[in-house]
Point group: D2
Chain length 417, copies 4
Amino acid sequence: MVYITNKCKIVNDPVYGFISIPGDFIYDIIEHPWFQRLRNIHQLGLAYYVYPGAVHSRFQHSLGSLHLLSLAIETLRSKYIDISPEEEEAASLAILLHDLGHGAFSHALEGSIIRGVTHEEITLMLMRLLNKEFPGRLDLAIDIFTDSYHRKFFHGLISGQIDMDRMDYLRRDSFFTGVIEGSVGSDRIIRMLNVVDDSLVIEEKGIYSIEKLLIARRLMYWQVYMHKTVLSAESIMEKMVNRARELSLQGTDIFFTPALGFLVKNNISPADVNGKGGFSPEEIAKNFVMVDDTDILMSAKYWINAPDKTLSVLASRLLKRDLLAVEMQNSPFDAQKVAEKKELAEKRLGIDSQYLDYFVFTDEVYNRIYSPEIPDIKILSKNGTVESVSSVSDMFDHDSLSRKQTKYFMCYPKECR
Amino acid sequence: MVYITNKCKIVNDPVYGFISIPGDFIYDIIEHPWFQRLRNIHQLGLAYYVYPGAVHSRFQHSLGSLHLLSLAIETLRSKYIDISPEEEEAASLAILLHDLGHGAFSHALEGSIIRGVTHEEITLMLMRLLNKEFPGRLDLAIDIFTDSYHRKFFHGLISGQIDMDRMDYLRRDSFFTGVIEGSVGSDRIIRMLNVVDDSLVIEEKGIYSIEKLLIARRLMYWQVYMHKTVLSAESIMEKMVNRARELSLQGTDIFFTPALGFLVKNNISPADVNGKGGFSPEEIAKNFVMVDDTDILMSAKYWINAPDKTLSVLASRLLKRDLLAVEMQNSPFDAQKVAEKKELAEKRLGIDSQYLDYFVFTDEVYNRIYSPEIPDIKILSKNGTVESVSSVSDMFDHDSLSRKQTKYFMCYPKECR
Amino acid sequence: MVYITNKCKIVNDPVYGFISIPGDFIYDIIEHPWFQRLRNIHQLGLAYYVYPGAVHSRFQHSLGSLHLLSLAIETLRSKYIDISPEEEEAASLAILLHDLGHGAFSHALEGSIIRGVTHEEITLMLMRLLNKEFPGRLDLAIDIFTDSYHRKFFHGLISGQIDMDRMDYLRRDSFFTGVIEGSVGSDRIIRMLNVVDDSLVIEEKGIYSIEKLLIARRLMYWQVYMHKTVLSAESIMEKMVNRARELSLQGTDIFFTPALGFLVKNNISPADVNGKGGFSPEEIAKNFVMVDDTDILMSAKYWINAPDKTLSVLASRLLKRDLLAVEMQNSPFDAQKVAEKKELAEKRLGIDSQYLDYFVFTDEVYNRIYSPEIPDIKILSKNGTVESVSSVSDMFDHDSLSRKQTKYFMCYPKECR
Amino acid sequence: MVYITNKCKIVNDPVYGFISIPGDFIYDIIEHPWFQRLRNIHQLGLAYYVYPGAVHSRFQHSLGSLHLLSLAIETLRSKYIDISPEEEEAASLAILLHDLGHGAFSHALEGSIIRGVTHEEITLMLMRLLNKEFPGRLDLAIDIFTDSYHRKFFHGLISGQIDMDRMDYLRRDSFFTGVIEGSVGSDRIIRMLNVVDDSLVIEEKGIYSIEKLLIARRLMYWQVYMHKTVLSAESIMEKMVNRARELSLQGTDIFFTPALGFLVKNNISPADVNGKGGFSPEEIAKNFVMVDDTDILMSAKYWINAPDKTLSVLASRLLKRDLLAVEMQNSPFDAQKVAEKKELAEKRLGIDSQYLDYFVFTDEVYNRIYSPEIPDIKILSKNGTVESVSSVSDMFDHDSLSRKQTKYFMCYPKECR
């Protein structure tokens, strides 16, 4: 007698080879339209304008994170850490859904479509709604996601200095951009995981891999995520959405794809998302899950012909990849220099002074190798003591790790060079 | 004194590492909005519904093919084949632009948006228009593309049994799907290239790599391109577009994104594309280059709420990835069996009999390892004679290579299993 | 409380990443000097004379095969095939030790050091001796190895058309030679394994991967294993060993490293290996396990200065990689042509006619895509029937698969070109 | 007419795919027995005792370094740095031959076989002898190797903080060990190379790749090169050779393979190598080039049966991989602790007190991320200024880069745990 399982439980992944789906409920969640929607959201916003291969989606990243979590659980169990099937499912759900609240173009428009709300807050809103649809089945997953479960290491696997999210995105983004130096030995790090006093720790001999992870992350940060041309492209897109919103709120009749229009024109607020505003989470969710990258690109195609010159030019530049010039440096730009560029833009391109801010502007971005507000990476020495990575590593001290590195950039039309 | 070239001439590619852009004019063509548009067209249609990594674009594939062509020219020159800078630029343009005429979702909707016209014909139309924009600069490229240049091997590099297009797509599709068995030793094959009597040949010791290429292509064909779930998804998309067109031509007011609407509602014909219809190539091009995958996905979002039930259900199933069941076999389906499925669909889902063909249907796909209508792969033996691969290989004979392999599939709603 | 296992159970492998050692006894066997010895035996004989990367050892290959077996067992268990811990250990031992009987330079000198005995026979001899050392612990492993265990699929995993040995060597040899086309989707094939009526079968959708495996094997065969320069190098080495043996048996005092000398000078026979000769298996084993590649290379260094000109020239040519010219063709060489080369060798190099056979000779090699004497690859269709791959594949028929492909080569000194 | 080059000029390499040999003279040098000898020298000493894949040879590494040099020259020429064909050949020879002076097991026995002489000194001796064999053809290569050529950047490509040697060994060692975190973006770094005032510089945007390189090197250092088990194995091998030398110099009749015996028994000195001793460079070279890893392993097989217990035990432990236990820490070991281990060894294993130092010993190893004595890595900013990496990087300062990191290890028999 031959048994063949009904549901396809194996997914091909170019990064890991094959990903097994652990269980039928997880599979059903993956099939859910809300999760399928992530297929049409670029993991790296407009990074594909610079790295043509970086067209991978949040869908893949979520599956990849799930895969790493399965490996982590397998490792921990082999070290006699007790993990129940319920905990495994809950942690799997939490990592699988952790990016469900990402909107069009991921971070690039985060806060631009729904103002003042992070993607994590929307994730939580959507998880709670799914928990109604599958009554109570996501209770524990939500606890882990919000760090209210007492076995803290589960949250650490989902969100922390060395979580499965980060491990996957570094490997995956490195793979798809072709920036191979960003790759991370996720296999080795995961095999070094352990749990002491309900906290995630790394065994001592993994210290060099951790150092490598931190440096790889830094490299990806400046070389990919904050690449100046990517910043220029994403700034244009953000300005474009802002201009459309502004015009619309001023009463101008501006085209929006329907669900995007709902979110923008109604100025959905944090209160709404948290269930204390004029719109219910159900109403917001219904529209939110219909918005993905295609809404932005499609709206931009309409906006090329908008009567408003500013909106039209921004949309056209975005779609034709006719980006603004960009300079990047370690200190803020001189106000005088910005003023000169504006003057040039006014003179050479005839941009009305009230719209100059859309085309000549400065901004800043920053990075820390790791975030001091998140619990430290803990290293488990062979004699059983647990210490902070910054006290164990002879390479990094706490200062160099948590120092905030800020860069400043200025964008302006190429014609003003 | 340090010279740094002004134009970025190197592109990161996850498959090959780095791709150098050979020359400023090639670079300008890549920057052209018509070429940039390829960023938003999936290389493999809806294959990403089965292989989540297969989100790569025609843009990358075109750059990759260009890269392989550069390697091929380098190899041929090292074997004392004379290739002038003009020929190099022309061949580079021809391979770079060979897919410019692909529409939304590549092959999946080829012939559905503009009926009766292949993507090659549209490519040619667009190349001719570019040749007006850059007066005469594409003359030779067009000759090579249409095989009217007397040194036939240039066309062979662009389009033939072992062209750079195929070499790139097999490697790239294998890379992004994760189906590693489809990978192809493009480096080795390219190093085996030579030219005899103006024809492309493969040196004898490359014979096993060629056999491997043919088998890899066959594997990719059935495992990816014609994967039954991919066929099911793409059939739904095609039926959806057809239904929208049909309703529109019947006079129903159906939403289309603007440029897509132009092409569909005007029923653009082969005559138009060839400059002998009611619409000029300029008019067609202007709209064609504004249509990409986002137009289809966005229109589908509107169509979910269309009054026409058929259109609405097709759009909904597509977007939610709620696909039809599909069976595949080596012989045609029994008419009786199809009729039974239709009956079930009518009974269980209440589909009106006149619309059953949208939900229960059969179709066929076929493959040949290589195409008998295209010039054979020629093998150059060590003693200088040139023979057909089918007479040299002790593995394949001409019959097995050119035999048409047909498979039949039937789709129907899962509820009718 | 933190548990850290005492024995290192994870090995880094460049092909698979990490290999876990399943259990303490398996670990002890790996640590055994007889197994450690495999570190100094090149997996691919002298292929590294052509492919510099092909310096990998039988040690790695044995570990790699073990790893694939673990994956296969995991897959089969997930399909509800019952496999006991004892069976798992026995199968693991059988695959781990399957190449224990390989001597210096693997296949290249198989039959030259101990005449008339295959490496499998020596493996069996050594396994039986180990079974005395660890009383009875290898009983079941030996049954599986000799195909005397009733659940035949275990033997099929160790030795058959799609065994783990072949799967590993194709991937590994491809990896280390850099002939990437030889790579095999071992992950996919293993996931398609199943067992019907105690026989190993491949599920239907794995058919293209199987076709690919067969072609990849064929490619590796002719491009690597039987590469003409490799054949030339290995022929010289074999002739050299034969000449040394001959001289020694004639009574000439020829240097041999000690254990190698024992095997060669005593003319160890099949009867000895099978325990029916003048030397006991224990005595043979004691010497056999001390011989590896270094004995041959070291003896050759001595032989460079041997008074016998033939031996001296062969050793010198081998060590300096001053190989014989080699021609390869599909039909036997004309006797006349060989005679001419001999005449030239005599004239130009002054080789005495009685020694000409050492420098001018022909030989043949052959390959079958698969071996008709071994049970067929069986394909399990979706409806549960089991058929031969040759009746299911529309690419291969039984004839093309089992056809013996013979090639002939002739070697002679380069000076006789 | 078809031209096929006579000499095979392309080599398959698993790391880079294909390596082209630039020119016939380079090819002849590769075919030279002195260079072929490198095939039998492990690049990483006994690292393959821990990482079974690390069996790659100095031969491959030398070819790989040559390949990277070719890429570097191509890059520099594309930036209008004038490099003549003579300079290209000389630099190619210098990098190709840079490791010619490595003896058996590379660094592991450096200074043990020929005392007080580095491999670079022997390389120089051998290059000078080759320069006699090919009169004057290596003049410029020797100048570049010894840094006496006025265009300093050539030496920088051969030997410096970011030379092609280091770039290849990090990538290659990472590839063969499977420690993927050690991999280095050699392609990217090479494309960032430039020359200012005859010095090698890195363009500014390569700064993150340089940081990554430094950290990867550090990781490989502690995780592979100085892995404690590797240190234990190599210490045993070194002690074994030392013991054999000692016995031999005391007049005991100890077996050595012939050429190894010449070097050890004659106590070849730095003066000899520099042509000012009792033996001529020709005599030394003649023997030196006959010694490779096989001499050590073969001698060890003889030594197992040596009457001297110490030598016999060391040889046996080495060959059976029955290594000493090893502890590693950041501070020197307490003398008291070492004394206790010795006492245990005497008591439990009956080792005579005068030989205890062979089995219980401490040693230290150290690493610097980069070497302060070698010219700094220089970064070329976009405005044309050149600065030290330590002043440009906001991650590393000069102190952290050049700080000497020392680790201490102690070995002792496992029975004394």
